[in-house]
Structures are given as C-alpha cells and as structure tokens.
Symmetry: C2
Subunit: 241 residues, 2 copies
C-alpha cells in the first residue's frame, strides 16, 4: 500500500532542514458598521492601507506586517489593528493561512485574522494612506486580498447566525432594536422584531437592566451582554484573544 518513492516519514519540528526564503506575514480584516448618508441600513466597512512600495505599489491592501520572531500570532494581529485604528479589538479570531506559491513575487505565507471594532470607537484617521471602504464595494486590492476579504465576510455572515459576535459591534448597553439592526446590517435583510426578541431572550446571553433608552417614542429597555456566556471563539488553545 505504501507508495514507492516516498521518503521516510518525518515528524514536524525536526531541525535537520530549514525552509530558507519563506517569510511569515500577519494581516487583519477589521470590520465595523458604518451608516452612510442616505442609506437605510448601516453597512459593513473595513480599513485598507495604500501600499508604498514595490509589489502592487499604490494599490489598497489589508493592514498587516511581518511577524516578529518574539511575537505571538495573535499579538501581531492586535498590533496591526492598533497601528491602523488605534484601538483594541472587541473580537479577534484567526481566519486562515494563505500560502499559495504565486500569491506574491516572493514567498510569503500570510496568517490572516479578522476582527470587530465598535462603530462608536472607530478612529477617524487623518492619514491619507488609510481609508475605510464598504465591504461590498471594494476596488481591486493587492495580492489575493479581494479573495481574503470575501472569505472573511462569509465567515462574519455565517458566524453571526450561531454565535454572539454581534455584541462586538455594540456598546456596553444597548436596546434590542440596536442589536437587531446589527444583525440586519450584517445579513442585509429585515428581521421580524417580535421573533427576534423572543429568539434572543430565549438564550441566556442578555441581561436586562433597569434603564431605558428615551427617544421619540416609547422608551426601550437597555440590555447588557452576559459576560458569563462564552462571548466568542476562544480558539483551539482556549485562551482569550
């Protein structure tokens, strides 16, 4: 059954050979919600950085950088996010490792993360080389970054259906209508307020408060997220991002 030309099996971590020339980068797809003027719903937006040097110079690309030799992967993603938005992520999760040979002129393996930040904390950078784009209306990006963003968007829209990540886009206290708007913006469709309320109240992820949001109509009760419930995917190692 063993194929003929196979060398002897190797266990990973062996130091007998090296892989010269392969470099590791970390990039992050940072999502937030943004209400454009005239738009009925908020839409998913992300920051891009204009490339200053040779491969794809001038094109927009995901924020990222080289992995430091004494830096965990998560830390590198957080650093990327801080450098771009000046903020800590309210959610951070590894997306995928991209490593096709031809994705860059030189061999680069990119560990890509995706993150959420709250719209109210969104930095307004005065940097000309950082710009926020609607996720569904992107230009041609450098490298394979269009594919990467598409995959991250798919993960976001998929994961919102079975996890509590929507809370990563809201402040500490929020009304059910605000929570529903987050879902509607990500999923790009209306949700029934009555059924949404029951579904979300049926779980133990929300704690009602005694406060109410006053507006133009009947005040809405404010809720906060139940910290006891698993907020997010803590990854295979079970540590908080």
């Amino acid at each position: 059954m063993t194929i003929t030309n196979a060398p002897a099996p190797r266990a990973s971590g062996a130091t007998s050979s090296v892989a010269p020339g392969t470099r590791v980068a970390v990039s992050t797809v940072i999502f937030t919600l943004r209400r454009s003027a005239g738009q009925e719903r908020a839409s998913v937006a992300l920051p891009l950085v204009r490339r200053q040097s040779d491969p794809h110079e001038g094109q927009w690309a995901l924020p990222g950088g080289w992995l430091d030799i004494v830096e965990d992967l998560d830390a590198a993603a957080s650093r990327t996010l801080a450098e771009t938005t000046g903020l800590a992520p309210s959610y951070l999760e590894q997306l995928y490792a991209f490593g096709a040979v031809d994705r860059s002129p030189t061999r680069v393996v990119s560990i890509v993360y995706w993150a959420l930040i709250r719209p109210d904390e969104m930095a307004d950078t005065s940097d000309e080389n950082v710009r926020w784009f609607d996720a569904d209306d992107l230009p041609n990006l450098a490298f394979d970054h269009n594919q990467i963003v598409a995959y991250a968007l798919w993960r976001l829209r998929n994961k919102v259906g079975y996890s509590q990540i929507a809370h990563g886009l809201l402040a500490d206290e929020f009304t059910l209508a605000e929570l529903r708007e987050v879902y509607e913006s990500i999923l790009r469709r209306k949700l029934d307020p009555a059924n949404f309320r029951r579904q979300v109240e049926g779980t133990d992820t929300l704690l009602p408060t005694d406060r109410f949001r006053k507006g133009s109509h009947r005040p809405a009760r404010l809720y906060r997220f139940n910290q006891d419930v698993e907020l997010a995917d803590r990854g295979p190692l079970g540590v908080r991002p």
Copy 2:
C-alpha cells in the same frame, strides 16, 4: 483616537523588513475509523510518528515537515499524508495556524491540516516509527500536539453534524447502516435508524443504486454519494483540495 507610540500603518507584503529565523512547518491530523477487537463501535484513530531528533526526541508527534519554498500549503499537507500513509486523502482541510513563541525551542509556525482516509485503504505500515493510536487515548505528544489533536477532534465532531464529511470515511457504495455507523462512531452515541434514514434521505446528497448488500438478513440497498453536491469545504479560494 490614534495611540501615541504606534508606528505608521504598514500594508502586508512590504519588502522593507524581513522576519529572520521564523520557519514554517506543515502538519496533518489524519483521521480514520478503526474497529478494535472487543469494541462495540469503531473509534477514531490517527497515525503518529516517533521523533528521531532533538526537541522531544523519542516522543510521538503529528506527521509533518518543513514547507518547501515552491510548494503550496495544501500540497505540503498532501505530501505529509502520502509519506505517512501512502495514500491520497478523501478529505483535506486547513485546521489552524499555531505560532505561539514558546511552542518550540526555535521559532516555528505550524500550519496544521486535518484529513480523512477510508478505513479500507488504511496502509499497514511496517515502519516501527509510525503507529496508529485511538484519538481518545493518546500518550503525551511532542510540542503542543495534544492540544492540536483535541481541536481537530472537536472540528471533526462538530462538522459531521452539518456537512457531508462522513462520506470521506466510506467506500463508493455503502448501506445506510454503514453510513450511520460512521456517524455513531464519530459522535460516540447511538442514532435512531428510522430517523437517521429520513434525515439523510431528505437531503439530495445520496443516490440510491439498484444493488443490495447481502448479509445474514434482509438485503440493504446500496447508495452512492451525489457528486453534484458540495462534498466538502473547498476553502476560501474555492478550489478542490
């Protein structure tokens, strides 16, 4: 809003700096089903390789190797699998990139895949340094490989519930009882044959054939997997593994 000490944002792929000393390895968690003597159900098993050299010498580890500079990540995982089992995977998917600074004496980022192979194709290696273990009864492995296997097992058990990966453990033609046994072995619990039949027939993933499996009792109809249906996660790039 921008934090003070942050350097200017960088776009990923910039060639201005490098990350010397970080090496990229690819490892694969290869699952199959194995019926141990005296066991009522089959159990999940995987091959491990005994380390021949310095870090953790003598301990068991996941099969893997260094990423070649002209080799895609998927290809490296397939190579790993071929070197260990002599077979092509019936399912192959990227699991996670592990890159904690202290997971190895030298800096190693491991791109880990997980794969399925059919029990009937399982190679009986005469290699003393390759052994198959029950996934739920592992020794202490090298590096963080125990955690990696635990995560891969979680993915397997989770994914079997909403995808068709169980077919990756069966031959071309199979009875519904055989398919059900795959689910029962992975999930480690009995399933109602009647309800299982209806659930799986309700989807369009199975094609009934005219052939029957004769045994000691009433012959059971043979089915084959509907190739038109998305067999598996094709990854963010939409290419078949």
